[in-house]
């Protein structure tokens, strides 16, 4: 509770701000996709001091133009909350085949203490090409091992990782041991065999989590790994369990229940449709695999990956889309189009927007700040001259991160300019 003696000071401060206050910026006339499933055809949206102010239907209110510093008339254009790409190595890798540019995989199997944000490259050439398609926020995620480390949610703009961070160390990524594993190597995949060490791995995990739980309730010597795990037991961090197989997912869910981990998310979830009842019962949300992927098996329906989101929506599961996989960093700019494909295969358009905005924000625990166009949230949004989910029309004209205009230029546009006018 605030001490009363400061109250006059606070009032004075507010008055000062009011007097010198910048006036808000207004965006008039856009079709605003709010991210929460709603749409305003002719919207009036203002921002001030990095936050969204008014969100209104322009046909229903009177606008006093003098009240605004700048008014952008964006009729016929679309306004979206900044798209969020979860579960990505964007910013901690640059060129797939250049090892020196990789900062996503630490050596060893158990690394809950390592944190992606400190390797985050705010001047990644790739990130600039991603944000110019409307993706403004990324959950930068480590890879490899059994416990890869901690992700952080980052803005795709910033001077350094401190000010780029939206949520530091938001969660720990656990690659759930697979009940089967593949022999051979990438170019020569062999058969897939049952993982004989599955139970052993799970036992190992259990011991580690038990230890971490005990550490969380005691005051021993500093142990970096244990310290990093603390947040899982007090609800300040999310456990991201990467699993695809139905039985693996079920085991993972049982595991979090055993340890009473309140925040857990399944990442991947290829088989999610087989266990929707259990997912619902346990209130598990999902970060899905890339929509643009091949069906799971030769027998699978050809459009299986395209229809998964629609079916999960119908089943009432909270999910968001990701772009994990080959060339995921540079491919993150195609996240909007993967949502577009889901729309083509039955997902409601505004639900598809949610799947890359508010749903993602909820799952990552950042919906207080972003994910939808709502008064008081960060002014992180963009305007596209056309439908941003369709590559045919996606054309990001303006983008803001916390109210600051984002430079939409990038290395590729520069080269285009240079060679176009040769």
């Amino acid at each position: 509770m605030m001490n009363k003696k400061y109250l006059p000071l606070l009032i004075a401060l507010l008055i000062t701000v009011g007097a010198n206050a910048q006036r808000p910026t207004l965006f008039m006339g856009a079709t605003a996709h709010l991210g929460n499933g709603e749409k305003i055809e002719n919207a009036a949206i203002s921002m001030l001091n990095g936050k969204i102010g008014m969100v209104a239907d322009a046909t229903r209110i009177r606008i006093d133009p003098t009240a605004f510093d700048t008014i952008y008339r964006v009729h016929g254009k679309h306004l979206y909350p900044g798209f969020i790409v979860p579960n990505t190595t964007l910013g901690i890798t640059e060129i797939d085949q250049v090892r020196a540019s990789h900062d996503y995989r630490e050596t060893g199997a158990i690394n809950p203490n390592v944190r992606t944000l400190i390797a985050y490259n705010t001047d990644s050439k790739i990130a600039k090409t991603v944000r110019s398609n409307g993706v403004l926020i990324a959950q930068v995620t480590p890879r490899g091992g059994m416990i890869s480390g901690q992700s952080s949610v980052m803005h795709l703009d910033g001077w350094n990782w401190e000010d780029a961070s939206l949520k530091s160390d938001d969660g720990i990524h656990l690659n759930w041991p697979s009940s089967f594993h593949q022999s051979g190597w990438w170019a020569e995949p062999g058969t897939i065999n049952e993982n004989e060490k599955y139970n052993e791995s799970i036992a190992q995990l259990k011991i580690f989590f038990k230890k971490a739980n005990s550490y969380a309730n005691s005051s021993g010597l500093m142990d970096l790994q244990m310290e990093s795990m603390k947040g899982l037991f007090n609800g300040s961090k999310t456990l991201y369990m990467h699993a695809n197989n139905a039985s693996d997912m079920l085991d993972a869910i049982a595991f979090t229940n055993d340890f009473e981990i309140t925040k857990s998310v399944i990442v991947g979830a290829e088989d999610a449709l087989k266990i929707t009842d259990i997912l619902k019962e346990n209130n598990i949300s999902l970060i899905l695999n890339r929509v643009h992927r091949l069906p799971n098996s030769e027998d699978s329906p050809v459009d299986e990956p395209f229809t998964q989101a629609t079916k999960l929506q119908e089943a009432g599961i909270l999910f968001c889309l990701s772009y994990e996989g080959d060339m995921e960093a540079m491919g993150a700019r195609n996240l909007p189009f993967s949502a577009g494909t889901a729309v083509a295969y039955g997902l409601d358009y505004e639900d598809a927007i949610s799947a890359i905005t508010l749903n993602t924000a909820k799952i990552l625990g950042i919906d207080k700040y972003c994910g939808s166009i709502e008064r008081g949230k960060d002014a992180s949004f963009f305007i596209s001259t056309g439908d941003a989910l369709d590559m045919r029309t996606n054309n990001v004209e303006k983008a803001y991160i916390k109210g600051k205009a984002v430079d939409l230029n990038n290395h590729q546009k520069e080269l285009f300019k240079k060679y176009k006018n040769r």
């Binding site: 640059e94 060129i95 797939d96 085949q97 250049v98 050439k125 790739i126 089967f180 593949q182 170019a187 020569e188 995949p189 058969t191 897939i192 065999n193 049952e194 139905a246 039985s247 643009h292 992927r293 091949l294 069906p295 098996s297 030769e298 027998d299 329906p301 050809v302 459009d303 060339m327 960093a329 540079m330 700019r333 195609n334 189009f337 577009g340 494909t341 729309v343 083509a344 295969y345 989910l389 369709d390 590559m391 045919r392 029309t393 996606n394 054309n395 590729q412 546009k413 080269l415 285009f416 060679y419 176009k420």
Partner: protein, 995 residues
Amino acid sequence: MRLRFTILFALFSFQSLLGQETFPVNGVAQNFEPIHAFINAHIILSPTAEINKGILLIQGDKIIRIDSNMNIPNDAIIHDLAGDFIYPSFIDLYTDYGLLKAKKGKRNYRPQYESTKAGAYHWNQAIHPEIEASTVFSADKKTASTYLKNGFGTVLSHVQDGVLRGTGCLVLLSEKSEQENIIKPKAASYFSFSKGVSSQKNPSSLMGSIALMRQTFLDTEWYASQDNQTNLSYAAFNNQRRLPHIFTTNDALDYSRIYKIADEFEIDFIIKGNGKEYSRIDEVADTEFPVIIPLNFPNAYDISNPETAQWISLSKLKDWETAPYNPAILANHEIEFCITSSGLDKKSNFISNLRLAIKKGLPKQAALAALTTTPAALIEMDDKIGSIETGKLANFFIASKDIFENGEIYENWTAGEQHIINKKQNIDIRGYYTLNADEFSNKLISIKGSKDKPKAIIFGLDSLVLLTKLDGNNVNISNANGTFRSAAKFDKERISGRYQDSIGLYHSFSMLRDSLFNEDKKVFILEIDSVIPSVWFPNKAHGFISLPQAENIIFRNATVWTNEQVGVLKNTDVAIKEGKIIAIGKKLDELVVFPETVKITQINATRKHLTCGIIDEHSHIAISRGVNEGSQAVSAEVRIGDVINPNDHNIYRQLSGGTVASQLLHGSANPIGGQAAMIKLRWGSSAEQMKVANADGFIKFALGENVKQSNWGNFERIRFPQTRMGVEQVFYDAFYRANAYQKAWQNFNDLSTKDKKNATPPREDLELNALVEILNSERFITCHSYMQSEINMLMHVGDSMGFTINTFTHILEGYKVAEKMKNHGAGGSTFSDWWAYKFEVNDAIPYNATLLNNAGVVTAINSDDAEMGRRLNQEAAKAVKYGGTSEEDAWKMVTLNPAKLLHIDDKMGSIKIGKDADIVLWTDNPLSVYAKVIQTYVDGKLLFDVEIDKQLRDRDGLERMRIIQKMSEDKNTGKKQKPQPITDKLYHCDTEYDE
């Protein structure tokens, strides 16, 4: 004349009787060879002849007489078979009996490019026709017995390793010496597409093996015409030309691959099959080659866990169900075939699998022929083995009953040598006895059970089962507590002997048989289930039950993207007939369009978009066993066209995304890769049928990081080139060599006929042939490329050596040299937006397609990726987004422009009268992310339809459950297979290894 012949014959037979004379004998000579007479036998002489109750006489290693009635020589040893069956013993043409398996050399992390084999042999370690099985054969009693148990008498044995494997020897399974057992030292020569244990890098792919084999065949011909060189491998092969050639396959698709080689070099092969012939039976039949098939029927899967059972693909389930019908299917198609016991997990399953094949409709005669007369004839040994005939080797086995039903093999005779397999129990001791002894009187005992395993039981209240052993007429009966342990003999209705009691005293006893045991005879009934499961095209999920036919269709009122001058036409009709577009216009009059009476389908395409099909300039789907032959810097001799895999489900997936044709490219592991194949995605057809007829030949070249092995780790630093500097030199070197080669041939061809006869022709080189084709504009280059420096370089090479680069593929820095490309005459086929995956794609930009297009370069957008290949429409749309290309131009980038680059735009790539009816019907503007394919036609055949697709899903689901049900009911006790998920092998440019 006649006299001389007789004498010769006599001499011959005398010699054969005393064959052992070449050996010194320790002891006294055993010269006497008695006559064995097998009487009261049911003799199966051959698949077509039998004697119901006959006599077989043998002496030494030969059959000397067979008849239904004769005077048996007095001195003959009589074997009364009492109705048992005699069969000619089986012959297996595909074994490695008596030979050591080839051993893999030590694994070396550094690649081995040259042969490490010492001597004047072939440069490639996988080519060793000089290996003769007979020189390393060593009889092996233990293994022989496994063959003897299954009824085999002779086997053809070879070292199962390599591409040209060498010769096999025909051996008897007797206990005699090797000298006597090898009855034909060189009976056949063997071939395969697998390199085997060779540690040499080449060949690293199936197409590499094929090319290596073809070049070797050419070289052996050339070798025979020259005398400058000695090559023991070629010499050995040339000596084998008259032998039967046996070619082993890995899958049913290999048949047409082998056929092509056979056709090219005029070799008749015998094909060792794989048990899946049914899946491509017409292709097997078309080769007209005899086939050797294994009985490797898959075991049932463990389906108790529905989750893991989900991993078993429908194709595996169908294979399980259909495989036992394979021999019957071959017989139905009148394909000449043999049966081998190879390929079985357990040799002991051979007879049971053979019987299973009979139950599934294989006629017994055909089965017997496949195991006797056919193999004998194929290796030209039918004068010695394969049937029971006077003068032939005494190779036969004796079975209790019909071997194809439930007969048990008692004895297997090889060249007159007896092998007891199962002792025949002649005496039946079963019956009801009364036992009398010191301690017992009139104790009633019954002996029941089977004839060879009888069981004695004390009659009465106690009904104690006694332990009973029988060997001939020796009987041991004992009780469980050891108070009665007896040894006795059965003779004349009586078992009499002695038993020992609990304190060790012996007592005599006697059991008299009061009455015989009346067995409830189970009559064996052969139930033939010859309803062959339906085989789909291809035999897996989404396969067609019958192939779609070209339809006559009028699409009404569509938005038609013509790709022609007229652009996008609204409310327009398109008519197709016999695979071609025949009319385009508003409100077409069907009577005018189809004047003849034919069945016409009208499709309402209102608010739908109609386009030609998508053409993918750069694809690696539908390829078997390896996309790169990167073991050499130049591999122009390999051909993707040899290894098309029509069963790849990505074909169907891509049809569902509107793709109708793909150029299947070799990978980018080397500067000069292999020859490409242009296919239409004719789902259900064969590999050859998929090829676009009369399409120009293309070849893959590559530049940059892949060819200089930049990202292959630290060991791959040996192969030249390792820098862009070296890459240029590879090209110059190759084309200078090609030039010289072409001149050499020209000089030779210019010689007069007479001079030609005296001259040695140049050695034909498949690699240089392909390069010469490039120089003569008969083959065209598509070159994997990224950076402007190297693109520029290759154009310089081309300009100075006199060829044009048809297409730069990927060409991500093409926008930097667009002018130069235009001037050179090269087109570009690029990715829409890929970059940052390698150092060399740092400057790749999604504006590339637009910039190239604007510069007047024919520009396409390709996939190089099985996933992207099914939504290339979306990739084309990115040219609109990034560069501002017009929608029509963007659409051409995945249709007309690739057709131009591939020289097929006279047939494909636009909606124009006379062009192929490769048509896609879309729900929306095809460039929109919201556009979905409703139908895809290839040559007027409906190969994907969103509604039919739903039906196929339902059908596949029902088929799966039907077979799983059948599998649950399967009584076969064989070990159940564990279900395993399948991972697709997806090829990209830089997928290196395969075999």
